[in-house]
Symmetry: C2
Subunit: 173 residues, 2 copies
């Protein structure tokens, strides 16, 4: 999909999966703390905690994939969030499919309806806030699942699923 | 509401309103680019563009209120986003109620079901990315509207309304 449209996937605030690869080993985590920072090139801020096993891989490789799951795989998304790559090979444990990305070493997740290949472009706030800024360098969407319903985390396992879509006369992009 | 629960309002990614006050003049803008950065004290990152009239007030006063509207006032939210405080007194133009906050000069919006009083705590990424980090210093929620449905922006006036709420066995906070 065009990079200029990537923001339309992240701006609504879905729970996403973040894959990394370092030392030839891939990992995946569940993440809700992300936001758009710019439209084009699309810049995305996210918080990956030092407590997350993905932190070291993200900092070292400076690459990741943000994959957007739909509600159909919400159970899988929670299972991925409930364990750490320190203890488990999550791809093997959950039969998670992985596909080679085009621009980064981190894998795409074909079970997700959209995948964004990202490079870390800003690390000044990593030490104090675990806040990375990423540039989306390649965006993929499954055309058959463009209207997938995403999930939004409200804390402690409560999630809101996308409901009705409304169209208002906005002048905003 | 307890500050430790403020993240549950912002993490799902709703469209919010941001009020500021500078030189005795209040303003309000519509914003979708925000994310949680820490639980407690609650830290929130947001992007307020130099093109937004609120940018100068936020930078100067270092205070704001993030107010969370429900779908019932979606039309009002879009109207607020369609114009600039440079040209319009939005409070007068839209008959927008304002209430004195407790810890900041920016006003609360009682038409919204929740209001978060915030102080700017980090500005290192303002010059390059228009990215502010705020600390929530006081949180208000209308107990009668705890289950309000929020809206999520998908670009160009398309919004997704909160749908079904599901509960999964997550170990995440």
């Amino acid at each position: 999909m065009p990079l200029a449209k990537a923001y339309q996937l992240l701006e609504p605030g879905p729970v996403v999966l973040l894959t990394t690869a370092a030392g030839g080993k891939a990992n995946v985590m569940t993440m809700s703390w992300h936001m758009m920072v710019d439209f084009e090139p699309p810049l995305v801020a996210c918080v990956v905690s030092t407590g997350d096993h993905s932190f070291a891989a993200l900092r070292k490789s400076k690459e990741c994939v943000i994959a957007i799951p739909s509600v159909e795989i919400a159970d899988l998304v929670v299972k991925i969030g409930n364990c750490s790559g320190r203890d488990v090979d999550k791809f093997a444990a959950f039969g998670l499919a992985a596909k080679k990305a085009e621009r980064v070493a981190a894998p795409l997740l074909p079970q997700c309806f959209a995948n964004l290949e990202c490079r870390v472009v800003e690390t000044r706030l990593v030490d104090k806030y675990n806040l990375f800024i990423l540039e989306v360098v390649k965006a993929w969407i499954d055309p058959k699942r463009r209207n997938a319903k995403t999930i939004h985390h409200r804390g402690y396992g409560t999630f809101v699923v996308d409901g009705e879509v409304i169209k208002l006369k906005s002048r905003m992009r």
